[in-house]
């Protein structure tokens, strides 16, 4: 029987780079990202999967990082908001649309929303629709209630990508 607070070594790919850090079994993925890897772009909100602030991509799928333990991420590909565009790169078209449409107010929920839209726009082919976008966004709470501009930003991406 080992000590329950024992540090487990966790190696996975974070934003394209393989990284290793130790954490106890009970450490959620979001706490691991923020406290062990200093990736503080992902926010902790409700800690029970409702608000969507902590949404990250795990093997390409948008999931709640508060509902997953860091040990479960071993060997997987994790992408956080920091992985969308690095310091010297242009913003992604999704990020630009949020900027141009003022798709955020306080910004606390934004990192999670960007990850969900990143998944949606990378897996749905060309069959984007406003209904589906609202369905994706329904998994996120914006307490500033800036939903109209968030939807507008997402619809901009639809028209941009469909035109291309």
């Amino acid at each position: 029987m080992t000590d329950q607070s024992e540090q487990i070594s966790i190696t996975a790919t974070f934003n394209g780079k393989e990284m290793t850090a130790g954490a106890s079994a009970r450490t959620t993925l979001v706490d691991f990202l923020r406290h062990k890897l200093d990736l503080t772009g992902t926010h902790v909100g409700c800690e029970h999967g409702v608000c969507g602030a902590c949404t990250v991509l795990v093997d390409g799928l948008a999931v709640r990082s508060c509902l997953m333990f860091a040990v479960q991420a071993v060997g997987r590909q994790i992408v956080t908001v920091e992985g969308l565009s690095s310091a010297n790169q242009d913003l992604t078209d999704i990020q630009k649309a949020f900027w141009e449409r003022h798709g955020l107010q306080c910004g606390f929920c934004t990192a999670g929303i960007l990850m969900s839209l990143e998944e949606y726009f990378s897996t749905e082919g060309n069959s984007y629709s406003e209904d589906e976008i609202k369905d994706v966004l329904s998994g996120h709470l914006c307490r500033c209630t800036g939903y109209q501009n968030i939807v507008r930003a997402a619809l901009d991406i639809v028209s941009d990508r469909t035109l291309k």
Binding site: Q4, I8, A25, R26, T28, H48, V63, C66, F69
Partner: protein, 292 residues
């Protein structure tokens, strides 16, 4: 909040998982974690040992057999949503799965996890009951099958011992359901259902309802079949006057009661929902008949 400390176990096979369950104290199986982890985070529950089923590949497969579609307990709700096989064979499940939580929780939430949690308003147990599914359970004494109506023991309580695990859910394909319908009432998109109603129907050669299953979730402690209504319809053609006579007195079940949805309101919703799904399922039967 943060979960209490526990030891994490990651079995690679079903037998390894069963072995762990038989000797670990105060252990809990972790499936998709979309209900268990919030409970741990809030410290509503605390376990000394967490056994993660996420690394057992055979639990994540969907297999079509001659007479059943077998879905592994760790198949995610997303896999069900996007599976063309499930859409073809079990259109009711394929449709209802979109009502389960949000896209982001369906990406990890599993069919077996939802079935074993047995929330009264959950869609998966309701659909499994409607489709007369059975559950394959593995334990220290080997494996056994349980029909879903036996598996659903009580509110949040499946008929399974702490040393057992659900391996797969078997959906029978021998029934000739040519109509189905599902409806759900909730306060917001993705919220728990206040009431959900599911129906499958088979139409006879003269346009009569040869057989049907009609079931309600969220209404009482566990999902259950509305057998009296089934009996009143079986063998008859469905029309407005039959529906009106069946539903004349509304529902008066001993329904769940809370501040958002009192018992009388759930009964009213269930009554409305049942009428709707019966009409919709019958319509599907009719358009199916026209096709063949």
């Amino acid at each position: 909040m943060k979960p209490a400390q526990f030891q994490y176990h990651k079995p690679q096979t079903i037998s390894e998982a069963i072995q762990l369950l038989s000797h670990l104290e105060n252990a809990r199986l972790l499936a998709g974690g979309q209900t268990l982890v919030p409970m741990l985070n809030f410290r509503v529950s605390a376990f000394d040992n967490i056994v993660d089923l996420g690394c057992i590949p055979e639990l994540s497969t969907i297999n079509e057999n001659v007479d059943s579609l077998d879905i592994g307990s760790m198949v995610t709700q997303r896999m069900l949503e996007y599976s063309s096989l499930v859409k073809e064979k079990l259109p009711l499940l394929s449709h209802a799965i979109k009502y389960v939580g949000h896209r982001q929780t369906r990406n990890r939430g599993t069919i077996g996890g939802s079935l074993c949690h047995l929330d009264p308003s959950a869609e998966i147990p309701l659909v499994a009951l409607t489709l007369r599914a059975s559950v394959e359970i593995a334990g220290p004494e080997g494996s056994r099958d349980a029909v879903i109506s036996d598996f659903i023991e009580d509110m949040l309580t499946p008929a399974i011992s702490e040393h057992e695990l659900v391996v797969k859910i078997k959906f029978p394909l021998r029934y000739m359901w040519n109509g189905w319908a599902f409806t759900e009432f909730s306060r917001r998109k993705g919220d728990f259902a206040i009431v959900a109603i599911a129906c499958v129907m088979e139409m006879g050669t003269n346009g009569e309802v040869k057989d049907l299953v009609l079931a309600a979730g969220g209404l009482c402690e566990v999902p259950f079949r509305l057998e009296k209504i089934e009996d009143a319809i079986r063998g008859k053609k469905l029309n407005q006057s039959l529906l009106a006579s069946i539903f004349e007195n509304g529902f008066s079940f001993d329904a769940l009661d809370d501040v958002f949805a009192p018992s009388w309101y759930r009964n009213r919703l269930a009554c409305t929902g049942a009428k709707r799904v019966l009409a919709e399922a019958y319509e599907r039967c009719q358009s199916y008949q026209e096709l063949i």
